[in-house]
């Protein structure tokens, strides 16, 4: 009970305080509201235009395949979006970018801006007028740009200006120029990487050639230490290998022709077995002679013998081949007497070719044996294995690098192609800028509501302040603290006790409120009638749409 009475007492004191200072509360509310009313009418309306762009990571071909085949999607970290928005904001607000926007929209042609720039130029005579005007504009525009993330990879660029057309042009061209510049930069980067790759490819090729030369040189050096009683030596090893390769090729060519000869014989009416002539001993003897002659000729070639000996050997080979052919013909006629002449000739040609092939094969095998003998001898020298391994390893490494780099160069070509196709599109405009139909700021309703709320709050604050600094005595307790004498009586305030102050002192609250309201109405009327352009904002900017329209 006692506690509730104390509570009632305190509540009553607060209510009396409010009642005592109601004038200040009312005045503060009216003044705040009128001030807000003037402010929302004097502050220039802002028109906001926005463009939304989508930024995607580069699409790899492998990812596209994954998506088709049902591959997993990467979970994006929100920090990547924040970082991306920060990067985009930094690039858009950078001086070079905004300078380009300003020049594209021809914003430096505003006469008021030029006047302002001239004044600044007086203090900086070394700067050109156009440069100063551009810097002024860039500073103004930079503060009006707002960049927000609207989701994964989606960024919204907003511009506020007092003119709707200007804000639209700025939003439109900032978004479009940003995409142009970003795409151009990336393509240029790919091209420069490719140029670098081409040069690097040439370097890798040179390095591989040098490594192979080093290996060959080392191999040649080793051969000197291993002179053997073979026909193949250091000086003629490459010749021997080349000759061997040629023999194999000739053999393959001959084998390719022999099928036709066999068919021709059959077409001529030959129907017996080819094996009779192929296994004929006399023919075999003639073939052996030819093989030996070919062997001799090969050895003469690889040992670079004198021309006379080689001519003699060649003549011998030719003669023996003729002898072989004639001998085969005779044996065919002997072995296949029932066949027609044409068929016999065809069979003889087939059999001769077969014998020729066999003799070449034998000669090639002999040569190969010589080459292998030579290699086996210097490879078995243990002190040379390590160095040989190192050089061979180096050649292998250089070859792998070159192959890898060639593959990357191909990939770079693919990337560049991908960039210019839909598959590789990185930035696009989702929602283009539009001319705003209504002002976006100030939000008059909200400001006035806030004023209605803040007014009493401010009033309470002032009232509390006046109460605190009020020197007068109010309660009996306060009075008794000063004058402890007995309170003989407490009497109500009678009309005779009231001092009749002047009109203003008695009615200062309503008079002041009326003055504030009158001032507000006057200010708003003047603004509406005479100062339609009068506002608290800075100098407006103008923009010329490169596609036609001006903002003013």
């Amino acid at each position: 009970m006692h506690h509730s009475e104390d509570t009632q007492l305190q509540v009553g004191q607060y209510l009396r305080f409010i009642q005592r200072r109601r004038g200040i509360l009312l005045l503060a509310t009216i003044a705040t509201f009128c001030g807000a009313l003037i402010a929302v009418n004097l502050v220039p309306s802002g028109y906001q235009s926005s463009a939304t762009i989508m930024v995607r990571d580069r699409e790899r071909l492998s990812r596209q395949v994954e998506d088709v085949m049902g591959g997993g999607a990467k979970v994006k970290d929100y920090r990547e979006d924040e970082s991306r928005v920060t990067q985009i904001a930094g690039r858009i607000r950078s001086y070079p970018f905004l300078e380009r926007v300003v020049k594209t929209l021809k914003m430096t042609e505003n006469p008021r801006l030029l006047d302002q720039a001239r004044k600044v130029q007086q203090q900086h005579p070394g700067e050109s007028l156009d440069n100063i005007a551009t810097r002024i504009l860039v500073e103004r525009i930079s503060g009006r740009i707002e960049i927000q993330s609207r989701g994964a990879g989606i960024v919204r660029i907003s511009i506020v200006d007092t003119e709707p057309q200007t804000s639209y042009l700025l939003a439109k061209w900032i978004s479009e120029l940003f995409i142009d510049i970003t795409t151009s930069k990336e393509l240029e980067q790919i091209r420069s990487v490719r140029r670098f790759g081409t040069e690097q490819l040439r370097i890798y090729e040179l390095e591989l050639t040098a490594a192979e030369d080093a290996l060959k040189g080392y191999q040649s050096g080793l051969i000197e230490d291993n002179l053997v009683n073979g026909s193949v030596v250091r000086e003629n090893l490459i010749e021997a290998e080349s000759l061997y390769g040629r023999l194999l090729e000739e053999t393959r060519n001959a084998e390719a022709r022999i099928g036709q000869l066999g068919r021709k014989a059959i077409e001529q009416g030959f129907s017996a077995q080819f094996s009779l002539i192929l296994e004929d001993s006399e023919a075999a003897r003639l073939r052996s002679g030819l093989t030996a002659a070919v062997d001799r000729l090969l050895l003469l070639e690889i040992t670079k013998s004198d021309l006379q000996a080689m001519a003699t050997a060649e003549a011998s080979v030719t003669s023996l081949r003729n002898t072989l052919y004639q001998g085969v013909q005779e044996r065919v006629r002997t072995l296949y007497p029932e066949s027609a002449r044409d068929a016999q000739d065809a069979v003889a040609a087939y059999a001769f070719t077969w014998f020729d092939i066999e003799s070449r094969k034998e000669a090639a095998a002999h040569l190969k044996r010589h080459i292998d003998d030579f290699r086996r001898q210097f490879r078995t020298n243990p002190s040379n294995n390590i160095e040989m391994t190192r050089l061979e390893s180096e050649v292998g490494e250089k070859r792998r690098l070159l192959d890898s780099f060639r593959a990357q160069a191909v990939a770079s070509d693919v990337s560049q192609a991908v960039e210019t196709t839909n598959l590789g599109t990185k930035i696009e405009i989702l929602d283009p800028a539009q001319v705003p139909l209504r002002p976006s700021s100030p939000n008059k309703t909200r400001i006035l509501l806030m004023a209605l709320i803040m007014g009493p709050v401010l009033g309470l604050g002032f009232a509390f302040l006046t109460e605190v600094v009020d020197p007068t005595l109010r309660t009996l307790a306060e009075i008794q603290r000063i004058a402890p004498e007995t309170v003989l009586g407490t009497i109500p305030l009678l009309s005779q006790m009231k001092i009749h102050h002047g009109v203003f002192r008695r009615r200062w609250v309503p008079l002041t409120a009326a003055a504030v309201i009158l001032l507000t109405v006057t200010a708003l009327s003047l603004r509406a009638a005479y100062f339609s352009k009068w506002n608290l904002g800075g100098s407006p900017v103008t923009a010329v749409d490169p596609e036609g329209k001006s903002s003013r």
Binding site: L9, G12, R16, R20, P471, T472, L473, R474, T475, L476, E478, I479, I482, A483, E485, T486, V487, L488, G489, T490, I491, P492, L493, L494, S495, Q496, M497, K498, I499
Partner: protein
């Protein structure tokens, strides 16, 4: 008369005045005091109104001889309260322009007399006149209690001159108006003159003690004239 209207129609006023006059009379009788000054630190704190109302309440007892003397020569009020002429008053008596007998007037109450301030261009001369003491000696002889209305203590020195002839002084304080420093100074001045401060009267009680004025103490009585008359009767018998 507005004065009587307040007493008849406003129960709170009547009640508080009744209590005030009872205490003052009791103290005066107990200590043999006859001349009681009412003053305040600053102007407009309700001392003149308190003087007039208290004088009326004291006079409700017909056996008392009460005098209200208005010594506020700079801003006399009592002639307004009782709706009489300003002259002749104490100033004329001191200047010899009128006798004390002619200056002392009767009121609606047979036992309540009024001595108005009169007109004076030089209040200091009047208040410092040696005749003042003789006048008050006569007033003491003729009345049981003299209630003196004075100017505010701080702005002028008039009250300081009167403190020496008074038996006691009551300070009137208006809640919500009297600054702390002013009350402090007023007390200092009184104590410096060796004045006998009988107590305080706090006006604007709604501000000073709202818990009393908002409670059942007065609300059940309201402002019914019939009930007010009944309280008059009680106040008379209880003094």
């Amino acid at each position: 008369m507005k004065l009587l209207e307040d007493i008849h129609m406003n129960w709170a006023v009547a009640s508080e005045m009744q209590k005030l006059q009872a205490r003052v009379w009791h103290q005066a009788q107990a200590n043999g005091m006859k001349v009681i000054l009412l003053s305040s630190a600053l102007r407009g704190e309700g001392k003149s109104t308190t003087v007039s109302h208290m004088g009326v309440m004291l006079a409700l007892n017909p056996e008392r001889r009460v005098l209200i003397a208005d010594m506020d020569l700079r801003g006399p009020r009592q002639h307004h309260e009782f709706e009489v002429d300003l002259v002749p008053g104490i100033a004329e008596v001191i200047r010899g322009e009128a006798s004390l007998e002619t200056a002392i007037r009767g009121t609606e109450f047979k036992n309540l007399n009024l001595l108005v301030a009169g007109h004076s261009d030089n209040p200091a001369e009047v208040l410092n006149s040696p005749r003042l003491i003789h006048i008050f000696t006569e007033l003491r002889a003729q009345h049981d209690i003299v209630i003196v209305d004075t100017p505010a203590i701080i702005p002028v020195a008039d009250t300081s001159a009167l403190l020496s002839i008074a038996d006691g002084v009551i300070l009137v304080v208006m809640s919500g108006k009297t600054p702390k420093a002013s009350l402090t100074r007023a007390r200092e001045l009184c104590l410096g003159m060796n004045a006998n401060i009988l107590g305080l009267v706090v006006s604007n009680a709604m501000e000073a003690a709202p818990e009393l004025y908002g409670s059942q103490y007065y609300s059940q009585y309201g402002s019914n004239p019939d009930r007010s008359k009944k309280s008059r009767g009680k106040a008379t018998s209880g003094s």
